[in-house]
Amino acid sequence: MSEVPQINVPQFDENNNIVSQEQQEEPRFKIKKWTAVGIWSWDLDSADCAICKSNLMEPCVDCQNDAHQQHSNSSNPQNSMNNKDGCITATGTCGHSFHLHCITKWLQKRQVCPLDSQTWDFKKYNK
């Protein structure tokens, strides 16, 4: 029967991190590369732009059409990216959000929120 090794149970701090050995010894776990993947979504109440009906996560309809035309004329993905990068969303003081392009176009006709008809004031631009 083999000899039973001595068990060294690690110590934890209040955050469940091991505290003792790493601080005392040469680092035995040296990170060389960190590859991480995440997904982002708008921190908004609305999912869709009520003006162009597209999801707020995707470019507005105009930008999609422009990108499609550029996309058709260019084999370089960088070219068709330019417009999409600029298609951000905007939220009004009423709390409703739209593509900035869409609401700007809308405001040229009426200075109210398309959803609740309150006078429109920009609260913030979301990027």
Partner: protein
Amino acid sequence: MVNTLTNNNSSITFVGLKLLINNNRNYDSECSINFILNGISGILQNESTSSLSYQDLYNKIYYICLCDSPEVLYQKIDLTLTEFFEARLNENINLTDFIKEYDILNKKLQKIDSLFVYLNRKIDSNLKSVYDLAISKFKQYILLNDEIFTFLETEILKEIVAKRKVYQNEDTNKDISVLNNILTLLKDKEMINYDNLEEKIINQFKDCFINQLNSEEFDYNIYNYCNSISEMYEKDNLFIKSIDIIDKEMELKIYNEFISVFITAVAPRLISDEMFINDNISATSLKINDQYILDYIYSNDTQDLINNRYKSFLYDTLQSQNFQINKNNINSKKEYLNLVNQLTILLVTLYQNNLKFIETGIISTENRVNATLKLVLNDFFKLILNNDDKIQLGIEENQWFMVLIRYIDVFIHSNDCINPNLEIITSIINILDGLEEERFEKFIRMYESLLSKRLMNENSNTIQLEYSIVKIMEATLNHQNGRNKEDITRMGHMVNDFITTKKLNKKFMEEADISSVETDVKVLNQFFWSGLVDNENSKFTNLIIPVPLQKYLIKFEQFYQKNYDARHVKWLYQHWMIDFEHFLNGKTYLFTVPFITSIIFYHMINADFVTIKSLKKMTGLPTKQIVQNLATLSIKYGLILHYDKDMKLSEEKSAIKDGDFFAINSNYTNERDAIKINVISITKK
């Protein structure tokens, strides 16, 4: 002073007139007319006439026209010609020499006509010229004779047969003036038999065509046959064009007979598999009556037959080549991918060759035949794509479209050059355009998933390639009803989003100043990358990030918040990878491991022994993930040792139980410095 006499646009000088009157000082009207008539008769009857006599005749005619009565002279000539041709008819004409004699007579009449230039001007404009008068008398008294007409007609038809042979055989004697002369003579719409003659000539050509078809050995390989027809047509065309009386309308009728005999009637004999393999583009370029030769072969009567034959040809070709690919004994991924490659090349080559044949190998009017055959080709590939039982593939659920998708994946992986040849990919996407709705959706899901995987394991040189392929798909796959264009557009957005996030990572690297660690952080748009969020993700909600990594994560989150303050980020730990160095048994190794594995390994480095329970507490990981990783590290890689609850070293590959202990294998050795760890999957039995 010079006096000028003017009459009917003709003018002579006074001196000339004086000379003329002096020469005819003893002029006698009757004598002069008789002299002229005798002269004409003499010429027509072959009596030799000196040039002096011609001069005398001309002078007398001229004088009569100027000083006497040209009308009387004209009437007398009319009478003389009538008598001459009446007498000829009664002479019992030698038919054998008639054509030669007519030729001579025609020349004589032309000669006489030149004597009457002035008379023709003086007479009433309603009257015929002397030559036309003579010809009309000839027709009236000679040609209307049934026996002569029949003889001539027979001679003409015989001459057509003989001369066509001369032209077809490219003999030297191509003189057809005799034929042309007779035909010109007979070309008088007023003649009651003329229409019949025209019809007989057309029929004669038809008989010639039939005789040739029956007497010669033709090669009925469609392209060889077309070449023969082209040659024959060119020679016939030359012959027909040289016959003066054949007008456009008659020419069309003759060529219709040509088409009917040589093409339409023969078409069924030309239908064979060989008609779909053409290296001789010019063979079908012959145009007859404004239509290409293929239009006559591919007629309403034959098109169904040809279409079906084409489908059979495609099927047989594919099947025969498919049989030659060995699908047994696939023992490795390499062999499997090689098989995918072979099958794809087989299908794509068949498609490309046939498309080339249809688009450029054959010529039809307004591409009518080309367009129809292209539909047949597309129908065939549609059938192959949507019916699994048509061809036994032996792999990928016996489905061609799955093989093609797999091929594209392999193609992208193996083509990291800047400008790869996309011809084969374009063909594959064209083929995939035949997918029916349900399969098309399956294709999109599969492609999106593979695209996502490829981008996650990204090789930066393939981004352009990915984008180019999506672009081809967008241009090709959106035409049919029921297809969702947004699916492909979204894939384009995925590629674009990926580029954006790469830029962001680069910016982070520059701003964060953490040169000791390479970071590759991708924060992707959830709307475009919804496929990334799977069930695994929800299991890692309470994960405890190891200390060495925490600082990088915090730095990045601060950086991201600064740049995008309205975004919420959700980390997908199942897609994270960590490269770390670890010193073990006298050697430093570089391990590339999934993030979850790295957490477990990290805690094991910092403890002599761990249990599932302690790991759960330290990492916040679910039991299943811990067991999976412990099994991977102990069984597959031997990096850790597995002890049972009594601290006895477990037997190899024994199951992991609660209460078992685990420790880093301090005796671990590996020849390689860099080791990539892939976690094994555990399924419940």
